[in-house]
């Protein structure tokens, strides 16, 4: 027997997945626009982000409505709480995509600093984390979610490398500080997106198992 509530929950999940799709596209377009030096693609990010903002409001409304009307318990309660948090993280990812787009536009207006090598690597890693975080939510796959958490370190490592390289290049030629800062900021934006992906993965673990792993993980050495 499918409860009416189950149908509402499915609808809500679909809403959230739609929103996640927009967010992924925004990140893709921002980074690909930078890589392909395509300003039109970069500018498309702003429109997508507005859609994400609208979706965020809709998802929140659905969650509040379900909480108020269905008073869910246990697994249902955890799912909705997780969705509310994931919703926020997705919206923040959208914001970061806009930041990347801004920084990319500025970067493209300047002399290129150096060939982009680590940044695409970092982008692939972050993109993979986002994808897996969302997949773990869709499939209620706790193992996959925990896998996402482990990959955060690789992203941090790539960011450190980019920072070192760019700083070295900037020290060599102070005229390129502007371009360097853009790349540093983009790397930092990507890292933030990765952090949001780990947040989502943590929420998935909570929704599936009821275990809150946030501080256990961060406080552990």
């Amino acid at each position: 027997m499918e409860r009416h509530f189950d149908a509402s929950l499915r609808e809500l999940k679909e809403q959230l997945l739609g929103m996640a799709g927009y967010v992924e596209r925004a990140i893709d377009n921002a980074v690909h626009g930078l890589q392909g030096r395509n300003p039109a693609k970069i500018r498309s990010v702003y429109e997508i982000e507005r859609t994400v903002n609208r979706e965020q409001v809709t998802v929140d409304e659905s969650c509040v409505r379900l909480l108020a009307l269905q008073q869910p318990m246990a697994v249902d309660l955890r799912l909705i709480v997780a969705i509310i948090k994931i919703n926020t993280d997705l919206e923040r990812m959208g914001d970061q995509a806009v930041n990347i787009a801004n920084n990319s536009e500025r970067y493209l207006a300047l002399e290129p600093l150096k060939p982009l090598v680590d940044l695409p690597l970092m982008f692939d890693e972050v993109k993979g984390m986002v994808r897996d975080a969302i997949n773990s939510f869709v499939r209620r796959d706790e193992a996959l979610a925990r896998e996402v958490l482990r990959r955060d370190d690789a992203v941090d490592e790539l960011k450190r490398r980019i920072f070192t390289d760019v700083l070295a290049a900037m020290k060599g030629d102070p005229g390129r500080i502007d371009a360097g800062i853009c790349l540093i900021l983009i790397a930092r934006n990507l890292e933030r997106i990765g952090d949001h992906a780990t947040n989502i993965a943590e929420d998935v673990v909570f929704a599936v198992s009821g275990e809150d792993i946030r501080h256990a993980r961060r406080e552990a050495p």
Binding site: M1, R3, F5, Q71, P72, M73, A74, V75, D76, L77, R78, S209, G210, E211
Partner: protein, 256 residues
Amino acid sequence: MTTTSPFLLETRGLSAWFGNAQAVKPTTLGCAANTVTAIIGPSGCGKSTFLRCLNRLHEEVPGARAQGEVFLENGPVYGPGVDPVAVRRKIGMVFQKPNPFPALSILENTVVGLRLAGVRRKNVLRELAERSLRLAALWDEVKDKLDQPGMSLSGGQQQRLCIARALAVEPRVLLMDEPTSALDPVSTARIEELVTELKKEVTVVIVTHNMQQAARISDRTAFFLLGEVVEFGETSRLFTNPVDPRTERYITGRFG
């Protein structure tokens, strides 16, 4: 002599029958002093029967019997030489339907337990009535009409009168059998509020059909199914992250 337990009220292997039909399978539960324990479960799961075993009211039903042990403050509730009447003075009860005694005034209803136990002094009775009615958060509403019949009150007030009546004999435990199922939401909210207040005075065990109610007012919750306790634990944990899949199915409404 029994071993000292951290619980004010405790059952060990308590089971109950109606004739040959077993209503409660051996159940071991403990309620710490000044806590609220909620018992939830589908209709006919034995939760009310279990509750009624705690003050030995179950055995008053023809053909009904109970087995196993119950301890109140480490003293036996069942056993040779234990007088059920004495047990019930220490373990009060509030029922599903408000049931003030007919033809008794509000005052008489409140102190009837003491009155019939031999307390005669008018001023003593009146003082105790005021105390109980205040505890039951009813005093302000009835203090000017104590001589009116208990039946003249509204349903919610009647139920609080019944709570005052149970409290007047100063029990250690208050059993509540779906005390708000016949009441409107406002009266229900007042009783829930009251239960939380009463924790300071008594230990409460409440059977409820309303899971939100159990979640709101109890410290620990027991989930009964088909006469046995499926899960018993901290209320906040049980309602967010139940261990047993049957509990999960029940509290998320996926049974049947």
